[in-house]
């Protein structure tokens, strides 16, 4: 039962990682790319790590419980650090006065990311 739950969580996490990577490759400017990378990364990390933590609660002994709690520590850390890192990167771009991409940039003029 727990095995199946782990499988489902991990597979969902992998799907979101896949979506993150597609977004990272396909989006037009770095604001939108960072949007995909920041959100997708945090979510899929949470999913996979919680799946792994569940997997170690398989037979609940003290050692396994400790492992699950440690994995939860990583989860909490990522949950706090990853959005902050995303904010820092976006802020760096904003302070460098990069204009966000608009639909008009995709026309003939094609000078998106012009600083």
């Amino acid at each position: 039962m727990i095995d199946y739950l782990t499988m489902i969580l991990t597979a969902t996490g992998l799907f979101f990682f896949f979506a993150t990577t597609i977004g990272l490759l396909r989006f037009p400017d770095f604001y939108s790319r960072m949007h995909a990378a920041g959100k997708g990364d945090t979510l899929s990390s949470l999913l996979i790590l919680s799946g792994l933590a569940l997997y170690h609660l398989h037979d609940p002994s003290t050692a396994n419980l400790l492992v699950a709690v440690k994995i939860l520590f990583i989860l909490v850390f990522i949950f706090m650090a990853s959005p902050t890192a995303t904010h820092a990167i976006i802020d760096a771009g904003y302070q460098s006065e990069v204009k966000p991409w608009t639909r008009a940039d995709d026309g003939e003029e094609d000078d998106d990311l012009a600083v």
């Binding site: 095995d3 990390s45 790590l49 400790l66 994995i71 520590f73 650090a81 802020d91």
Partner: protein, 106 residues
């Protein structure tokens, strides 16, 4: 279950190759940073998965935690650089540092 985790790990490795494209090609320096951050997160997960495959995850969790912390520090340091220097495109020097022209889609 080990087979499943190995499969998941290999998929993560393949996704890392895709993210590496963004890291090495750019176009701007922030794209590189972004790719490195994504690789870092995937690596954190992969460390825990490798620990599970070895069956001794309690030894690997510490590494993953330290890894997440240092990845955070590196990202903050890199982003602070730009608040001082403000030049994300690298001022057009070099082959891989320039901003490519995007082709019109419609």
């Amino acid at each position: 279950m080990n087979g499943f985790f190995i499969g998941a790990g290999v998929i993560l490795c393949l996704l890392m190759i895709l993210a590496l494209y963004r890291t090495v090609v750019g176009p701007t320096i922030i794209d590189r940073m972004m790719g490195a951050t994504v690789i870092g997160t995937k690596t954190t997960i992969l460390l825990v998965i490798i620990g599970t495959i070895y069956g001794r995850v309690e030894m690997f969790v510490d590494i993953a935690l330290a890894y997440a912390m240092l990845n955070f520090i590196v990202t903050i340091a890199a982003s602070r650089y730009f608040t001082h220097h403000k030049n994300i495109t690298g001022a057009g020097f070099g082959v891989f540092g320039r901003v490519p022209k995007r082709r019109a889609k419609r």
